[in-house]
């Protein structure tokens, strides 16, 4: 599988010829449309309403066209000028921004109902210049995205992680920013069709993400870990020990003395 991330930074890789190739390829169009529809399904927006949506890494507006078809109003940002020029030629409906997501989302608090991103956030994990630090860029992106979404706002982003480590890097950065966070993997068995979706939610929403029977991981730490067997054993009293052993023997079919109130008690001291 070829990885454009390893070849050149996005604004250089997606030059005029590459963005034309990308946009006119029916295969790419088909995959992008499918992933956009799947992202919208995960977002679980009210189909009756028009929402204000941010498209991070909108490219030539392939995903934006679907948003327009679904009657949504959107704003797209991308770092590659050629891709945006292609989008302009295709006369997409949304507003276009030439902007680097690693420098933050330049919108004030509570702007968007939701945000999507198709095949973009893996670029954040790359250090393309000596001054860019992936960790800082990820943190900046997620914290400004968190602010730009309204409370209960949701984000679904399809991405191509290079390895397990990148998934951890991305999800932990999202959690630090305050999101409830999860990764949905479609077609996990297939090497070619496997798709990763980062699903984020900023606070509680009336229409939660459509995740089937899965749940997003909360940022609040779990109450306490279950104690290990060894710890439990070390902490139990003599009486509990006897009860446990008796129960075990009973289950193994041995004859065991009946439990009474004297079980496990110390005998009266006698001379």
């Amino acid at each position: 599988m070829s990885r454009p991330e390893q070849i050149a930074p996005p604004e250089i890789f997606y030059n005029d010829s590459e963005s034309r190739k990308y946009t006119t390829s029916t295969r790419v169009q088909h995959i992008q449309a499918q992933m956009t529809l799947r992202s919208l399904e995960l977002l679980n927006l009210d189909p009756e309403k028009t929402h204000f949506i941010l498209d991070v890494g909108c490219g030539s507006g392939l995903s934006g066209e679907i948003l327009t078809e679904e009657n949504q109003i959107w704003v797209g940002m991308d770092i590659a000028p050629s891709m945006l020029a292609t989008a302009l030629d295709r006369e997409v409906e949304g507003d276009l921004f030439l902007s680097d997501m690693g420098c933050g989302v330049p919108f004030r608090a509570g702007t968007f109902d939701a945000a999507i991103s198709i095949s973009a956030i893996q670029w954040l994990c790359n250090a393309d210049s000596t001054t860019s630090e992936p960790k800082v860029r990820l943190a900046r992106f997620f914290s400004t995205l968190y602010a730009a979404l309204k409370r209960g706002g949701k984000f679904v982003g399809q991405f191509y992680p290079a390895n397990e480590n990148q998934i951890i890097q991305i999800t932990s950065a999202a959690k630090v920013a305050g999101f409830q966070c999860g990764v949905v993997v479609d077609d996990p068995e297939s090497k070619k069709n496997k798709k990763h979706y980062l699903v984020l939610q900023a606070g509680h929403s009336d229409r939660p993400l459509n995740l089937g029977n899965m749940e997003v991981e909360s940022t609040t730490p779990k109450k306490e870990k279950k104690m290990s067997k060894k710890m439990m054993r070390a902490m139990e009293t003599k009486k509990e020990y006897i009860h446990r052993k008796k129960e075990l023997m009973k289950r193994r079919g041995k004859t065991v003395a009946q439990d009474s109130k004297f079980t496990g008690r110390r005998r009266k001291p006698r001379f």
Partner: protein, 127 residues
């Protein structure tokens, strides 16, 4: 760029995050265009509470329209004429060319062919 978007976009420089001056940006030398868009009253009503009316008035004044009322008009939901006016202002007015200046750091963002350039020079990107 739609007029609606000007009500949300702010300076991208990190050191301007905490400043009130980084929103709204100052709009100068703007070339406007009217682009037709389907009238959608539900969307407008859902966006109303999110609008910062002071910024709407200020940006409209930057663009040469000083006829807006200084307070947010009330009872818009039932006033079709008002909704239509808002629709043509917010969604159909497009800024094609122009420049936006941050009132805090003074950085100038250019709009060219209706694409706003928010790329930051390296010294601002990582500060």
């Amino acid at each position: 760029m739609k007029f609606l978007t000007t009500n949300f976009v702010k300076c991208a420089v990190k050191s301007c995050d905490a400043s009130d001056l980084s929103f709204p940006l100052k709009y100068e030398e703007c070339e406007l265009q009217l682009q037709e868009h389907d009238f959608n009253p539900e969307f407008l009503i859902s966006m109303l509470p999110r609008l910062n009316w002071d910024a709407v008035v200020q940006v409209a004044a930057d663009l040469g329209n000083t006829s807006l009322p200084s307070t947010k008009p009330e009872g818009i939901e039932n006033n079709e004429q008002l909704l239509k006016d808002l629709h043509s202002l917010l969604l159909e007015t497009q800024i094609i060319n122009g420049k936006m200046t941050c009132r805090h750091c003074g950085h100038i963002y250019y709009i060219k062919d209706s694409i706003a350039n928010f790329l930051l020079p390296p010294h601002l990107a990582n500060s």
